[in-house]
Amino acid sequence: MTMYMLIHSGGNMKKIEVIIKPFKLDEVKDALNKIGVTGMSVSEVKGFGRQKGHKEIYRGAEYMVDFVPKIKIDMVVSCDMADPVISTILEHASTGKIGDGKIFVSSVEKAIRIRTGESGKEAV
């Protein structure tokens, strides 16, 4: 049985949250796989930034659709991977039009693989 040891490994991993237009998902995923990103989580979200929503009309009554569907990708990578990931996303997720999305980078204190108990860079 592998002992889980509390190693202070803060500071050498980054969490990257990306919000992109849904139709860009395949292209971004494939590009990230090519540069060595081995795992990610994807969720369907709705949101707005400067894109704002739009007006719809149902049976004569107008209503605002404020939130636009987007895809959010969460991934945790080692520090040295952060910049390649960011430039890959910028290259593949951008259309030049409003609503292309955002990238957020934050530090990760701990990362642990549940199956083996590994932590730190080995876990991502």
């Binding site: 719809e56 009309i57 149902y58 049976r59 004569g60 009554a61 107008e62 209503y63």
Partner: protein, 510 residues
């Protein structure tokens, strides 16, 4: 005595539960232009015995064709229940889908039992023989008031529990056919009252409308009652004529839907503080449109089946008029929405399609194809205008447009018959000779009969149903609590979520 009351009972033949004794030589007499007369059959008994025997088989086959037609068309109308269920559920929200489906489902079961208990008897108890089906003379009891020498039939008195002399193959077929029409009425208010009606009080309603309200008006129009006798009694055309039920079925349903929606009140969040409506889009448009198509399919049984005779070749005209009116209603609704509201809103177009069908239901057997298209075009426009009038002026929340589709266009259909009937069909209808003719073809009195029927229906059904809902509300509250309405009625009212996998719960993730 100026007013007398009687329960008329005329002689009937023996009931025929096995069907073996129904349909014979008598059903050959006078049925086509060159058919033998009763005398012919008697005279040839000695000289041409084979012909007489064949006449017996032919008569049986004629009745068989008619009964098969009636039953198959009845099965088609039964399938309309699925159409209503899909259309209503598709046009309302997902959190209530189980409950909306549940109402449309149980209205079939309960409506049928209520109708079997006494509804059928009240409606058809005194209709007398059904000639195209060669029998049903067990339905020979009608309660009549005689006022100043005129008979006013009010309700039937034979056929409770389909027992006794009404245990008869033909009467059972008539029961099936009439029951599915009744259920079409019963299911209409579930649309206008969707998303906030308690299941308990809905059950009481289902019994009430199937046992009493629908059958009474249906007796007056179809059971030989007083509206049908307006021609014989007062010279108003052929009396009130409603071929397949624009008033008996749809106007009744639409008016009941109106009364119910008024008593129930609008859904939470439907109207802003200043009274303007909020949109509450339906959750499954493909389901709704499929439901509408199923309704259109079943309507072939609804209208064409109302001849109660496969051998009545007017069925081709009836079916084509039906489909033409539906197409016209869809197109005029589409144009209306495009012109006034920027987009061809498919939910309104679907409503317009149904409005055309409702409107042609009364006149379908009596008009030509151009009239059918005109009736449908007007129905689509009336539908759109009515939806906005009901929602914006009356501030009544009707999630699926039931009041406008069935109520408004049911009335239009009945009146349209009084305008467009061209005299090519209906000789002898309600005991009046010659074809049924409307205002545009020279008979003003028919329109008078139609108008009388529409006013009677609206006054009777609205009064009874409004009072009923108000009283019922005091005993079994009509409306769910605010918490239940916000969360969705499925769990609280019918114990199953329509879409459990869209909620996070431990059982879903096993």
């Amino acid at each position: 005595m100026l007013i007398s009351i009687s329960a008329v009972s005329f002689a009937g033949s023996e009931p025929d539960p096995s069907g073996g004794g129904t349909g014979g030589a008598a059903d050959v007499v006078g049925v086509t232009a060159n058919a033998p007369s009763a005398d012919d059959l008697q005279n040839m008994a000695a000289t041409e015995p084979l012909a007489v025997k064949l006449a017996d088989v032919i008569g049986h086959n004629r009745i068989a064709i008619n009964m098969v037609w009636t039953l198959i068309c009845g099965f088609l109308v039964m399938f309309m229940q699925a159409g209503f269920a899909l259309a209503e559920t598709g046009f309302t929200r997902a959190k209530n889908a189980g409950h909306t489906m549940g109402m449309n489902f149980m209205v079939y079961a309960i409506g049928m039992l209520g109708y079997w208990i006494c509804g059928f008897a009240i409606q058809m108890g005194g209709v007398g023989g059904v000639a195209t089906l060669g029998g049903a003379t067990g339905l020979n009891g009608e309660f009549i008031i005689n006022i100043f020498g005129k008979d006013f039939g009010l309700f039937g008195t034979k056929g409770f529990f389909l027992s006794g002399s009404t245990y008869d193959a033909v009467i059972f077929s008539v029961f099936l056919f009439q029951m599915v029409f009744m259920d079409t009425t019963a299911t209409i208010p579930t649309g206008s009252m969707a998303e906030r009606w308690t299941f308990k009080s809905f059950l009481v309603y289902a019994f009430f409308i199937s046992m009493f309200v629908y059958p009474l008006h249906a007796n007056w129009v179809w059971g030989g009652g007083w509206l049908a006798q307006l021609g014989k009694n007062f010279g108003l055309g052929h009396g009130m004529v409603d071929f397949a039920g624009s008033s008996v079925v749809h106007l009744t349903g639409g008016v009941a839907a109106l009364a119910g929606a008024m008593v129930l009140g609008p859904r939470l969040g439907k109207f802003k503080k200043d009274g303007t409506p909020n949109a509450m889009p339906g959750h499954h448009i493909p389901m709704a449109i499929t439901g509408v198509f199923i309704l259109a399919f079943g309507w072939f049984g609804f209208n064409a089946g109302s001849t109660l005779a496969g051998g009545d070749l007017r069925i081709g005209v009836v079916a084509v008029n039906t489909m033409l009116a539906s197409a016209a209603g869809a197109v005029s609704a589409m144009i209306y929405m495009w012109v006034f509201y920027e987009k061809p809103d498919i939910s309104m177009i679907a409503n317009g399609f149904l409005a055309g069908l409702v409107a042609i239901t009364a006149p379908c057997a009596f008009v030509n194809s151009v009239s059918a298209v005109i009736i449908g075009l007007i129905a689509g426009i009336l539908l759109c205008m009515s939806v906005f009038f009901v929602e914006r002026k009356l501030k009544i929340d009707d999630p699926v447009g039931a009041i406008s589709v069935h109520g408004v266009n049911g009335a239009w259909g009945v009146l349209a018959l009084g305008l467009f009937a061209d005299g090519t069909y209906g000789a002898g209808w309600n005991g009046v000779s010659d074809g049924v003719r409307g205002l545009f073809y020279g008979d003003f009195s028919q329109f008078g009969a139609q108008l009388t029927g529409v006013i009677t229906n609206i006054v009777f059904v609205f009064t009874v149903m409004y009072v009923f809902f108000k009283v019922l509300d005091k005993i079994v509250p009509l409306r769910v609590s605010e918490e239940v309405e916000r969360e969705g009625l499925d769990m609280a009212e019918v114990a199953v979520l329509a879409y459990p996998e869209f909620s996070i719960s431990s059982s879903v993730y096993r």
